[in-house]
Amino acid sequence: MTLSIRNLATVALFAALLLLPLYVQATGDRFLLTLFTRIVILALAAVSLNLILGFGGMMSFGHAAYLGIGGYAVGMLAHEGIVSGLIQWPVALAASALFALVIGALSLRTRGVYFIMITLAFAQMAYYVIAGIARYGGDDGLTIYKRSQFGALNLSNKVVFYYVCLALLMATVYLVWRLVNSRFGMVIRGARSNETRMRAIGFPTYRYKLVCFVIAGTLGGLAGALLANHNEFISPATMYWTRSGDLIVMVVLGGMGSAAGPVFGAVALLVLEEVLSGITEYWQIILGPLLLLIVLFARGGIDGLLAAARWPQGKKAPA
């Protein structure tokens, strides 16, 4: 087995992410660490979205809801004086899983464009409900005065927190990779290409897709719990529908064909945002048409480009 450019790029990306704190230590650029902690957390959310979007063919436009639910689980418990991560995080995961179960059970009765609109509408419902709860800040959001407590593991240390996020991201990528290559994943991918046929050969595709939807939602909730700890603040804006759009952009930009693709997408989009906003205040006027061009001319995203890339002449991979 030769090393393909695609695999090499993936290894290089994760190596760079692992070594980033050393670079930050050397240059003292604290902002870079904050930026990349955010990138790693949103990459985790994008990887979880790709499980249903890319592999399952379920075009969910409500994935930011889990960021909000996971984040608010941490925020609300902290507000009530419960700061142990061993309580906060399981609650965040369970709440996201439950929400995914309910909206998934309803939304998966439909497909295609209905599914897009319904997941969007339910996510907005969650947004309005949370924005309406005055006890937890309503529209203004909720400040979290203490990060989740994990005994000896001090999440307030930025480097430690970065590595926790990165470890969870790598675990998630591995989990998604194992999942899509398992029998379960085969059924999910089969249902994406031809659901009628999968049903005809005896798979209850609805149940498989629902389980897949709940797993993705739960992982999204994990990203939410991390994001709340990172910002030490959570507000309904976290789960606004444009955030769901951002996550879809990361997935498509990175490439839906591989488990690690969305990580490329998250890094590319957020670094691009950072660069463009340094050039002009009106950076979205550039980003918007750029997205349209990517849709029109670069299908398959970064992962697609890497997969198509070949080593120079004379190093042909054996069949």
């Binding site: 295609g112 209905y114 609109m117 509408a121 006027i285 849709v295």
Partner: protein, 305 residues
């Protein structure tokens, strides 16, 4: 009782306004099979145009008419420049491409009109209360909105069901290759349909402008409601979106004004005050969930899609 009638009229007005948005959305989806997230941006642009033109010309009506046609032109330009290239692509591509357009439009508006909102003042002859029955009066402007939207809905029905263009639109919806093969300029037809959808969205935006502030992102919340309506009414069905829009308009308006009172009767005042804002904003989504459980394809699905 007066309050109830007033809220019913509010619901009717809001529902009809939502219909204008949902009709454009469902028309474009039914005929071009295109999911247009940027529909809300056209609503916003209609409102900004109206505020600008009204200030220039000094006349509300003239400003509104100019804004309607300007939005039509913007819609047709967007179709020619961007949308045309998205037909026949995956729905996910539509979502992403039009999401890019939203970012573009929001930022373009910020660049041209600045980050602060605008207001569109009503002329004095509309800014009064009309006495409908002895002892009961209602905003003349809202009555005007109801009249205009009903006229537009009727006109749309006549256009689609009774004219040659409408015949082509319906034919294009059921089999676009065949219509093209028969020598109809399908490209032009699509540009016109998209422009029409845009103009309807712009009309909704400019009529809502005097009631709310004209601001960036104003199209986004209402777009979600338009989605809910298309889902309930069945995608591609104009009749379905008309009924669903009225339904959503009533449920949302009446829910927001009377649901807190109902809650207060059942729960303690403190609990009701906490829960009411959250629960009343959930009502229409619950409605949507119920429709989905009963009829997953919507109430009046145009079939097949």
């Amino acid at each position: 009782m007066t309050l109830f009638i007033e809220q019913c009229l509010n619901g009717l007005q809001f529902g009809l306004l939502l219909f204008l948005l949902a009709a454009g959305l469902t028309l474009v989806f039914g005929i071009m099979d295109l999911v247009n997230l940027a529909h809300g941006s056209l609503y916003m642009i209609g409102a900004y145009f109206a505020a600008t033109f009204a200030a220039w010309t000094g006349s509300f009506v003239l400003g509104a008419i100019l804004a309607f046609f300007a939005t039509l032109l913007v819609g047709m330009a967007v179709e020619v420049i961007a949308m045309r290239r998205l037909y026949g692509r995956d729905h996910l591509d539509h979502v992403l491409g039009t999401f890019g357009l939203i970012l573009f439009f929001d930022e373009a508006v910020r660049l041209i009109w600045g980050p602060d909102g605008m207001s569109l003042p009503l002329p004095s002859w509309l800014n009064t209360a009309a006495t409908i029955a002895p002892g009961f009066s209602y905003s003349a402007y809202k009555l005007a909105i109801i009249a205009v939207t009903l006229a537009v809905a009727g006109g749309l029905y006549l256009l689609v069901m009774r004219t040659r263009i409408g015949m082509l639109i319906r034919a294009g919806a059921s089999n676009r290759e065949m219509v093209g093969a028969l020598g109809v300029n399908i490209k032009l037809l699509y540009t016109l349909v998209f422009g029409l959808g845009a103009a309807l969205a712009g009309l909704a935006g400019l009529m809502q402008a005097p009631i709310l502030t004209v601001q960036i992102g104003m199209g986004e919340n209402i777009l979600i409601l338009a989605f809910v309506i298309t889902v309930i009414g069945g995608i591609g069905s104009i009749r379905g979106s008309f009924i669903a829009a009225l339904f959503v308009g009533f449920v949302d308006t009446l829910g927001r004004s009377f649901f807190p009172d109902i809650l207060r009767a059942v729960l303690s005042p403190a609990a009701a005050a906490t829960l009411a804002p959250a629960l009343s904003s959930m009502l229409i989504y619950l409605l949507m969930a119920i429709v989905l459980i009963v009829k997953p394809e919507g109430l009046f699905s145009a079939g097949g899609r």
